[in-house]
Symmetry: C2
């Protein structure tokens, strides 16, 4: 497996585009993205667990019920959530795009991100479709990735090539992380395409399995968005024998999908609202996978720890505290904690109690912008990784300071 | 029932004191508190659910197993948590205090708050005991309340008088909220005394029941502390017939205890780290009490909403979002939301969708320092209140900015 360029267009037969259609007032900001497969693709998706869901999610769920899709359209600037006419707007969008691409509207996946609770005007989208569709091309990943950004500060795309049964396959994706415009909420959208031939059933299985250790282990601020969606298209143009069951080929596909997802997770975490640091909590030695995950997620979600990391403060007591209330059944007196970064690693807690350590060395390690928090529970063989970011003045500023 | 002065010393036969013994470097900050009942009292307590617990909690649990206690000693500046010799230090403290007061060490409740993971030197405590004990008096509540503060900015004490079977009883308490010294974590300590005669069993029942709707509905930052303790002493000196079962007298006691606890909750929330606003989320119309509580707690814990409230931004979408991921089973399309303060009330969401409202009026309401978020689920008869505070630059500063 190796990293390649091309993002969401790396796979054969995938084109994309992103334009400014007018949902946003800022004319230099693209706000409408299209991803298109030359042939009908197998499709899978996972969605937010929030009971409050964006209207596009209902339409997308309906459209990919048959495991097929050929295009993804996504606007930024308005989440189309908590609106009386949201479903109608989402449906209308897919109908017009279907006509423009000459495909059934049922093969269109639709997504939105941005302001919640404000009606989404469908006119700019409809009027923008000719430009959007005519501009799709093999190197449109960047334009599409830009068009789904809200206040993301970094464009997020990744792709890898891998081998299935002697055929070279490609998989790539784009993502938007937690960014804000006024007034809305953090949302995550991920769109992935591959030319690997894999049945819709196995594609869904791969995605549903993988997100448990990738996107479900990612937290910016603990607020589960209403619009989170991860969707994958697999058009089979790589020519491999279609993956229809578990086995070596499926394992290869899972590895590639995982690499894409882990990289997008890390990009989203590092670009969390106001973030200055990517935090990665690795838990080892858990007695069950469940306990490993509870611990790593709890640590990454602690506001106290996140603020300490912003301040480059080796405040390991907050790691212990977060482990203690994680809900995991752990033996506190067996826990070792260390902090690690490009500048080295330092042990701060052994057997649940503090050890003497150099505060200067700890500070040097924690001043880096990628920090690993290593927790060994010394109670078994299971491990887990969770990703997050520090809590900064800018998080508060982005989310509270619009009017003051 | 009426509010009275005297705090934790309002009840008959209760004396208190607070001194600087030297745990803290700042000699003007008291760091050791004592609360003393002239007679052996019935005692009850509740503790943090964090698996990582301060050493004093183990000693206190052991000491009040028999439902009796006569004194409470508490230091600030060091949490005596995650230390190899923590239990020994806590025990030694109770032994020396027992000798100084001429009571069994088993009748002493001990608590600590402050830095975690650093050994607590018992010498300053032992050396301070003569001054601490000789200075106890009827109006020592304020000194004791000061001595348990960490970076609390406001002293927290409250007392009420109430009537049980024709006898005037008094109940009062002191609290410390979420404050910090370097490096530690938010902790809550509450000490309550009453002269009402009530059996240890009914006292524990009253406390365990009441905290479900008071201290368990309070969140500053979602981090459950290692040292949280709420302890109550009831010495019976009011002369009422001892409350030994449920009934009218118990109901009166519960009402008084609830008033004390709600007031301390509101004080702790308003003085949350960096807070500029007290947030109160009232949920009505829930189908179960459990769902009412899940919703009110989820709203009050949302970092996005807390930041929006800091910015006086009527961002009701974040309320809906937090309800959606609360885990409560609710019908989103029935939800009404309004914001309220001393400046009035404004409806922002009806039947799960936005309604037009005056942004100026909303801002005027949200610029106040006590904000109510009113949620009507329109699905039943149950209600709930939760308390919290806004998320501000100062929260980040207090918790992250020690070294930069």
């Amino acid at each position: 497996m190796e990293f390649i360029s091309g993002g969401v267009c790396a796979a054969k037969g995938i084109k994309a585009n992103g334009i400014h259609c007018g949902i946003r007032k800022n004319k230099t900001k693209r706000d409408l993205a299209l991803i298109y497969s030359e042939t009908l693709a197998n499709a899978a998706a996972v969605y937010t667990t929030n009971l409050v869901k964006g209207a596009p999610i209902y339409v997308t769920k309906e459209h990919i019920k048959n495991g097929k899709a050929q295009a993804i359209i996504c606007n930024s600037g308005n989440a189309n959530t908590c609106n009386a006419n949201g479903i109608e707007v989402a449906k209308t969008t897919t109908e017009h795009l279907g006509k423009a691409l000459n495909i059934p509207s049922e093969d269109v996946i639709v997504a939105s991100t941005g302001v919640i609770g404000q009606p989404l005007n469908v006119e700019p989208i409809i009027n923008g479709l000719p430009e959007l569709v005519s501009g799709i091309c093999d190197n449109g990943s960047t334009a599409a990735a830009e068009a789904i950004m809200t206040t993301d500060t970094v464009l997020k795309e990744v792709a890898v090539s891998f081998n299935v049964g002697g055929k070279e396959c490609k998989i790539g994706g784009i993502a938007k992380g937690s960014g804000m415009i006024h007034p809305n909420m953090a949302t995550m959208l991920v769109f992935i395409t591959t030319d690997c031939a894999i049945s819709a059933e196995m594609l869904q299985k791969a995605l549903s399995t993988d997100i448990k250790s990738t996107f479900n282990m990612l937290s910016i601020d603990g607020d589960t968005s209403t619009n989170d969606t991860v969707a994958v298209l697999a058009n089979g143009l790589a020519g491999n024998k279609e993956i229809v069951c578990e086995g070596e080929d499926f394992a290869e596909f899972m590895k590639a999908l995982n690499t894409v997802n882990v990289n997008l997770c890390r990009m989203i975490a590092a670009d969390g609202e106001g973030a200055t640091k990517l935090l990665e909590c690795e838990v080892f030695g858990a007695d069950t996978e469940e306990n490993a995950k509870l611990v790593s997620k709890s640590v990454i979600c602690s506001s106290l720890l996140k603020a300490a990391m912003f301040g480059a403060d080796a405040n390991w007591g907050r790691v212990l505290c977060a482990i203690g209330y994680s809900g995991a059944n752990v033996d506190i007196e067996k826990i070792d904690v260390s902090f690690s970064s490009a500048k080295g690693e330092i042990i701060v807690c052994k057997d649940g109690s503090g050890v003497e350590f150099s505060e200067e060395k700890a500070k040097e390690i924690l001043l880096e912008n990628e920090i690993e928090i290593l927790v060994n529970l010394n109670s078994g063989e299971f491990s887990s990784v969770a990703w997050g970011c520090d809590l900064t003045y800018d998080y508060v500023k982005i989310n509270g300071d619009y009017r003051t």
